[in-house]
Each structure stands twice: as C-alpha cells, then as structure tokens.
Amino acid sequence: MTWQLAFLATLDGLAYAALVFMVAVGLTLIFGVLRILNVAHGSFYAIGAYLAASLGIAIAAGGLSPWLTFPALILAAVLVGTILGTLIERALLRYVYLKEDVLQLLVTFAVFMILEDVQRLVWGVNPYFEAVPLRLLGNISLGGIFYTNYQILVLPAVALLILVGLRLFLRTTLAGKLITAVTEDREMATAIGVDTGRVYLITFVIGATLAALGGALASPTTSLVPGMGADMIVLSFAVVATAGLGQVEGAALAALLIGLGRSFAVYLMPELEVLVPYLVMALVLLVRPEGLFGVAQRRRI
C-alpha cells in the first residue's frame, strides 16, 4: 500500500468515523447517566435521516433556497430528539429505571421494533434520498481523487464541534455539571439533592438529538431504507463498548479506530471490512475489559 492510498483511506475513514461518532456519543452519554443501553438509538438515527430528507424535499417543493437544507438538517435532529426523546423517556423509560438491566434493554428493544414499523408506515419502503446539501458544496480534489466537501470537511468538522461542545457543556454549564455528577456517582448526586428525573430527561433528549443529527447529516450521502437503524445500532454499540461505557472522548477515538480500520480494510483486505468493528472491539476488550477508557467497578466490602 502506497502513501497515497493510505492518505485516501485515512480521508474515507475520517468521514465515516465522524458519522459513527455522532451516533455513538449520544448512546454513551445516555448510558453514562441512565445506565440504559438504548437499542432504540438506531431508530433515532433512521428517523432523523428520514425527517431531514422530507424537510429537504419540502424545501425543494416550496421553491425555497436550497441553502435552507442545512438548517433543515439540524431542525430535523432537534425535532426528533426533543419530541421522540421526551415522549419515550417520560412515557416509558422512567417507569423502568428500577428494573433489571435486561428489562431496561428489552424495553428499548421493544421501542426499536415499534419504531421500525412506524418508519415504514410514515415513509414507506422505497429508498429515499435528498442530496442537495452534498451537491451544493461541490467537490474537492485530493491526491487526484474527487471527494465531496460535505463528507470530507463538513462531517468531520461537525463531529469535532460536537466533541468540543460536549466537553465544554459538561464541564462549564450547570446542566452539564449535573450530568457529569450523576454519571460519576449517582447516589452522591441524589443525596445532595440533584433532581435526577430532570437530568435523565435532559440527557436522553441530548443523546437522542445527537443520534438524529447523525442520521440527518448522513441523509445527503446515502439512500434511506427500512432497517438502516438496525445496522447502525450494532456499530455504535461496538464503538461504545470499545471506548468504555460513558466515555465521550473515548467514543471519538474508538469511532476513529473503527472508521480507519474499515477504510484500510477496503484497500488491504476487503473481505474483512464488515468484521473490523467487532475485531477491534474484541481485541480491545481482551486487553482492557472495561474498554479503552472505562473504569473498573469494584464492590465495596
């Protein structure tokens, strides 16, 4: 493999990692606070994508400026995150916080199954795509190969923005500090009077919004099909477990590992491409059972 090809593979890996990171970071945030591994996260991704495409189509149909599709991507994510996120957290999850892990996981699994059909009922089964934002920004030639500015610049930039923004949010704002407090020591946080119910809700909405944003930002690059959420959820699980549960920065690194591993595999051993996320995860966990940045839990005796 030449340096030029390695450069290409790196670029492809970056764009892919950026999308995966956005979805995975929402998942890990939710897990950190609610201790629930949210299977329905993949549905937020899919619905965010579908809604973004619908808004894009509506903008085109209304004869509005195509540049409006960019804010539409964000609008779609926020709508899905706040409406669907609030609905699911308030109407379902808060009733199962005291139940076993397995049951919590299954509640989200049930939501996932229901939302899969909701998507089909609302958007039908035909692939959708709405690539206006991708086309507006045009191409850039790197190493003699055309890349879309959208994938090579916008996606990594947004991912970086989210990473930095989340860090600042968690460290400097009151809501962020409360979320961090609950993540680190739930009993302590409750004991000092943190309203955990509100923290759970806010976290879930933020997490859901991030997943939907991942979907919305992915929508110009891919066609939207039934079942797209199921694959994304397994992938982001792998990222989150590799990173260590609840680790925001770790999720970025793990997404990068998996994204780069995948794109290098396309050049070196295409047959391994689909196995890369799982191999990375199994290898990391073999060496570090808590994930790259996870902290070992020990029972107090």
């Binding site: 139940k99 049951l103 299954l106 049930a110 939501v111 966990l285 029972r299």
Partner: protein, 334 residues
C-alpha cells in the same frame, strides 16, 4: 409442598399432552411447534444465564453454528443420519460455547451482552462472507437425513422431528430444573446477587458461570440443529443479532428464570408472530414490540407469572419472585 409439586406436575403433563396431540388435529402446526420447541431450548439456555443475571445478545451464534455443523456433516456424508447430525451440532455448539465462554465469563452485564453480540456478528459475517463454503446468504440446504438408517417421506419425518424434539424438551426441561436446584445451579443466582461472597466461599464465579454458559450454548445449539433439520436449511440470518434478541424476548415473555416459561414463551411467541405476520403483515413488528412492552410493564413475571396470578398458585420453585427480588436488590444497590 406436595400440593404445589402435584399441581406443577399436573400442569406440565397437561401441557405436554396438549402439545403432543396438536399435530393430530392440525397438520401444519406440527412444524411450527417443532420450531417453537427447538427455539424454546435456546431460550432455556438464555434462561440459565438470566439466573446469573447475565443476558447474552449473541446466543444465536450457537444456534447457527450447530445448524451449520449439521448441514456440513449432512453434505459430507451425503444426507447423513439424523442422530449423527444432531450429535455434530451439539458437539460443535458445546465446543464453541467453551471457547467463547472462557473469554466472556470474565465480563458482566452490558459487556457480557455486547461481547456475545460481537462474537455472534463475527460468525454472522463469516457465514455470509465465505460464500463458497457456506453458500453465503442463501445458506445451506440440509437434505432429509435417514432416521436410524431408515429413509422417511416428508410427513413421517416431520412427525419424527416433532416427537423427538418434544421428547428432548421434556427430558432437558427436567434436567435443567435439577441442575438449577443443585449447588452448581444455585451458584448462578449467587453470581447474580453477590459474586464477592461466592469467591469468599472458595468458589470461582467464573467457573460457575462457565458451566452455565457451556450448557446454555449446548441447549441453543441443540435447538438450532433441530430447527434447521426440520426446515431443511441453515442460513446466516439465524446468527443475526436480532435473532439473539428474539431469544431474550421469549425468555422475558415466558417469565424470566422459569423453565416452563421458556417453552410457554416460545410456543406463544411463534403463534403470535405467525398470526401477527399473517394478519397484520404491515405492522407485525409493532405488534410484537407492544406485546413485549406490555409484558415488561404490566406482567413482569411473564406468562408463568400471569398463570400464577390467575390460578393463585406458585408454579416456580426457588425462594422468591426473581423479578421482585431483583428489583429490591437494585434499589439496595443504588
């Protein structure tokens, strides 16, 4: 005590007789029930792990590995003998269970679930990738094997598979109940409630879990090879994570932690799924999801719990309602 035992035994016998007689009334349910019972074996495997508080989102890998083992042996031996195919499937799933178990019993809860999922996805990808060996996504045909040397037509063969599966289910349900009541089985619940104390008794929590894991892998494998021989086919689809999720779903539907629940859940699930898909073709997933939510929120004891509520009898052994006990334990933990 005696009264409870008798009521349980009576109920179990009634259920077995009912299931055994079903195909005589409606032909087509025979295969449906065979598959449901075979899946019930896999669910029984999940149930063993649930006793230890662990949930595997990857047990479909054993189900699939064993199905493919049966398919390969069938191919190599030109059709093959039913019991050789089953034996091969069982052996492969036990061996794979041991190999993967040694690794995953070091992990708990989400990590345990995720690692199992990861391994199952690796198997799934391999089955799809190595197309020239495994037939890719089309899977492998399993020609109808001989039964103790006899070549059977479809109808009698389906009867053989049905009653064989039913027999295995009855035997293994009994066996697993005994295992769960033994110190080794009871140690699983101890892994769930207090691993530290178990270590301080001088027992390895990992060993206790490994025994349960290998056993559960074997059960899933047996279910997989039985179902696939009955269907005449093994496909990678049966290794996909959604299939593993289905096993966990059925375990909860039937009543987490109960042997009877595994099979009651499997039969009801297959029935609901079959009818939901036939009559609500557009929204069968939604129907299943709603059923699952309803069970978790309103009937945490599952079908067995419902039956207990209706009859006012305790059908399960053990000391306390596991769901309730687990809730209390969690409240305590937090």
């Amino acid at each position: 005590m005696a009264g409870r035992l008798n009521a349980q035994a009576l109920l179990a016998v009634a259920a077995v007789v009912l299931i055994a007689a079903a195909p005589l009334m409606a032909q087509w349910v025979k295969v449906l029930l065979t598959i449901a019972l075979a899946k019930g074996l896999a669910v029984l495997g999940i149930m063993i792990l649930l006793r230890a508080g662990q949930v595997s989102f990857g047990h479909a890998m054993f189900y699939a590995a064993s199905a493919y083992a049966g398919a390969f042996v069938g191919r190599w031996t030109g059709g093959g003998e039913l019991f050789v195919l089953i034996g091969a499937g069982l052996a492969v799933s036990l061996a794979l269970g041991l190999a993967i178990g040694v690794f995953v019993v070091r992990y708990r809860y989400i990590f345990f679930a995720m690692l199992n999922l990861a391994f199952s996805m690796v198997l799934f990808s391999i089955l799809e990738k190595f197309f020239h060996v495994t037939g890719g996504s089309d899977g492998m045909r399993i020609a109808r094997p001989t039964v103790l040397g006899m070549e059977l037509e479809r109808a009698p063969f389906e009867y053989v598979m049905f009653y064989l599966t039913l027999g295995l289910v009855v035997g293994l349900a009994w066996g697993v109940r005994r295992y769960l009541a033994s110190p080794l089985g009871q140690a699983l619940a101890a892994v769930k409630s207090n691993e530290t104390r178990l270590e301080y008794l001088g027992m390895s929590a990992r060993h206790a879990l490994l025994v349960g894991y290998v056993l559960s892998a074997g059960l899933a494998g047996l279910g997989g090879v039985l179902a696939s021989i009955t269907q005449g086919l093994a496909t990678p689809e049966i290794a996909y994570w959604v299939r593993s999720g289905e096993f966990v779903f059925i375990a909860i539907l039937g009543g987490a932690g109960t042997v009877a629940g595994a099979f009651a859940g499997a039969v009801v699930y297959e029935g609901v799924r079959s009818y939901a898909a036939a009559y609500f073709a557009d929204i069968w997933q939604m129907v299943l999801g709603a059923v699952l939510l309803a069970i978790i929120l309103f009937a945490p004891g599952g079908l067995v719990g419902l039956a207990e509520r209706l009859t006012g009898r305790r059908l399960r052994g053990g000391s306390a309602d596991p769901a309730v006990a687990a809730d209390q334990a969690r409240v305590g933990e937090r």
